[in-house]
């Protein structure tokens, strides 16, 4: 099915000014139906959740739990397996601090990772005296199951790996990695920040134990994200914070935590934001994740073809649109990525990210680009015109300023 892009674009008031937003990897735009749901909570039924007995409090609790169910549906999980957190970063920190590591155990991660799925493991390695093993990729960012097989062994407690690289758009073979890890008795945490918003993700099919993702990258509000924890693991993962809302009973010298997601959601949660994230999940599912992925692939193909014709360009990652998501990083010869980004913005209103995109090890050791790169990324609301204006301006920059 083809997406009705013009209709979708009408939902995003941000686009009405004619700006061209190609930085959805950093954060996505928010459509009107999601904003409406958020405001509806503040305007119509604002009350705390899971506490009051009066009718409005019940309405708020139902809306909050319904949002959890919608987010669960998006990744084919049970609602009880979804924990609302602030963002993907808080989710990885929760797992790093909540798992009971023993001295000498091993964590396996990769060179592709975002700092949020990297430095948390460096820290826990030092505090708990663990070993951290980093799987290296080839120049294009490809990782094969055999690369992991060499690192995962009986001592490996956790494999922490991205589902989609936020720089190269490549997708490591999660299913195979999970199989290898489970054979050795290891758990697998998948960083889904760049996959859940853009492609159909099914935790049952992937088989992973944890999946972390953010609301703000999937058309939802900022300040809310989700961590999927496989149901039977929840007893063995400690919460990051405890307090109001997370207990069954408290006495003078004891406390007993509740079961299920409530255990992890101490204090008043970001209620409006969670409701917004639920609405965003519904919005994406109504459009269809497969349709979104198809649309992004078309734009990516156009972008890759156009970039290949620009002189002086270093394009990172696979050249084939089938092998990557709609995240494209590059450099123009002799130009600082920030200068390219400013020129695109000032002359054509094209917004792209520049710098190291929170992935310094990748830029330094794989891409050999210590100054970072320019990154353009697409989402469901982008169209061919966006891509063409971006390419035209970039071609002009390359011809005249490089």
């Amino acid at each position: 099915m083809m997406l009705d892009i013009n209709k979708i674009r009408e939902d995003f008031t941000f686009l009405r000014s004619g700006r061209i937003y190609l930085d959805s990897t950093a954060t996505s735009l928010t459509p009107e139906p999601v904003l409406k749901k958020v405001l509806e909570y503040y305007r119509e039924y604002r009350a705390n959740v899971g506490r009051g007995i009066y009718n409005t409090a019940q309405t708020a609790t139902s809306a909050y739990e319904n949002a959890r169910a919608e987010v669960a549906k998006l990744i084919n999980a049970k609602p009880e397996e979804i924990i609302f957190v602030r963002n993907t970063t808080e989710a990885t920190n929760l797992v790093a601090n909540g798992l009971k590591f023993q001295e000498g155990e091993k964590i396996v991660t990769t060179i592709l990772e975002h700092h949020s799925n990297y430095i948390v493991w460096l820290r826990v390695k030092n505090t708990k005296k663990l070993e951290l093993s980093v799987v290296q990729s080839d120049r294009e960012g490809h990782l094969s199951p055999s690369d992991f097989a060499a690192h995962i062994d009986r001592r490996t407690k956790l494999v922490a790996v991205t589902h989609t690289s936020n720089v190269l758009g490549v997708r490591p073979p999660i299913k195979e990695i999970v199989k290898l890890a489970h054979e050795q008795g290891s758990l697998v945490l998948v960083d889904g920040a760049q996959s859940v918003p853009h492609t159909k993700v099914d935790v049952k099919e992937l088989g992973c134990d944890f999946l972390a993702f953010s609301g703000h990258k999937m058309c939802g509000p900022t300040g809310v994200g989700a961590l999927y924890i496989k149901e039977d693991l929840q007893a063995s993962v400690e919460p990051l914070c405890i307090g109001g809302g997370s207990i069954d009973d408290v006495g003078i010298d004891y406390y007993r935590l509740r079961g299920g997601p409530n255990k992890y959601e101490a204090g008043t949660p970001p209620i409006a934001e969670a409701i917004g994230m639920g609405a965003a999940a519904t919005y994406l599912m109504n459009i269809g994740m497969d349709n979104i992925e198809d649309h992004e692939r078309k734009l990516t193909r156009r972008m890759l073809q156009g970039l290949a014709n620009i002189e002086g360009i270093s394009l990172y990652g696979p050249k084939d649109a089938e092998k990557r998501a709609g995240i494209i990083s590059f450099n123009l010869k002799g130009m600082n990525p920030h200068d390219v980004a400013v020129a695109l913005d000032t002359t054509s209103g094209v917004m792209v990210r520049s710098g190291h995109h929170c992935a310094l090890p990748l830029h330094k050791h794989v891409l050999n680009a210590p100054n970072g790169s320019v990154r353009a990324s697409v989402y469901l609301y982008n169209n061919y015109d966006d891509v063409d204006v971006f390419l035209d301006t970039l071609a002009e920059i390359s011809k005249t300023l490089m």
Partner: protein, 177 residues
């Protein structure tokens, strides 16, 4: 009607993009360079706009420009270095431009090393050891990787003085009102 900015005033300023350029001003700059055809503009084609007679005369000003600092920050990728943005035209809401980069191109004609001009985009880029400067036609000047604040401001002033002869005098007079 003398300069391309005079002509630009007659435009509807829609930046519709039908001509293939990213904005009306970019299209006009390209036209002046012989790189685009006015007939690609749907407004021109419909007869709403007169045929242009554009010419250039390098303008000059009596008083120096005032620099308004937008920000001074550590460089995002190199925190020991400084990035500064200034606007030489305060309240720079004028879409017509301040520096005329077509004039700049005709004056410098790539004779200064480490200086690159994009007349079509309206950008001058100057590389130096003390930092890399980008000057935009609307009056924005950005320096990146400035060695320190003092040297960074020196580089900014140097770039502005260099482009002094290209200042779009008429726009400046208008904005003074």
């Amino acid at each position: 009607m003398k300069t391309l900015y005079d002509y630009y005033r007659l435009f509807p300023h829609t930046d519709c993009g039908y001509c293939g350029s990213t904005s009306c001003l970019t299209m006009l700059r390209r036209y002046c360079l012989g790189k685009s055809d006015l007939n690609s503009c749907i407004y021109f084609k419909s007869g709403e706009l007169p045929s242009p007679k554009i010419s250039y005369s390098p303008p000059h000003l009596k008083e120096p420009p005032t620099e308004k600092i937008s920000y001074i920050r550590p460089c995002p990728s190199e925190p020991t270095k400084v990035t500064i943005e200034v606007n030489v035209l305060p309240q720079t809401h004028s879409p017509y431009g301040y520096f005329d980069m077509i004039t700049a191109d005709s004056i410098f004609d790539r004779q200064i090393p480490n200086l690159k001009i994009s007349p079509s985009l309206g950008i001058v880029r100057i590389e130096s050891e003390a930092g890399d400067v980008m000057v935009f036609s609307e009056g924005k000047v950005i320096i990146r990787r400035g060695a320190d604040e003092k040297r960074a401001f020196w580089e900014i002033s140097r770039a502005v003085r260099l482009l002094w002869a290209t200042v779009n005098r008429k726009i400046r007079a208008e904005s003074a009102h």
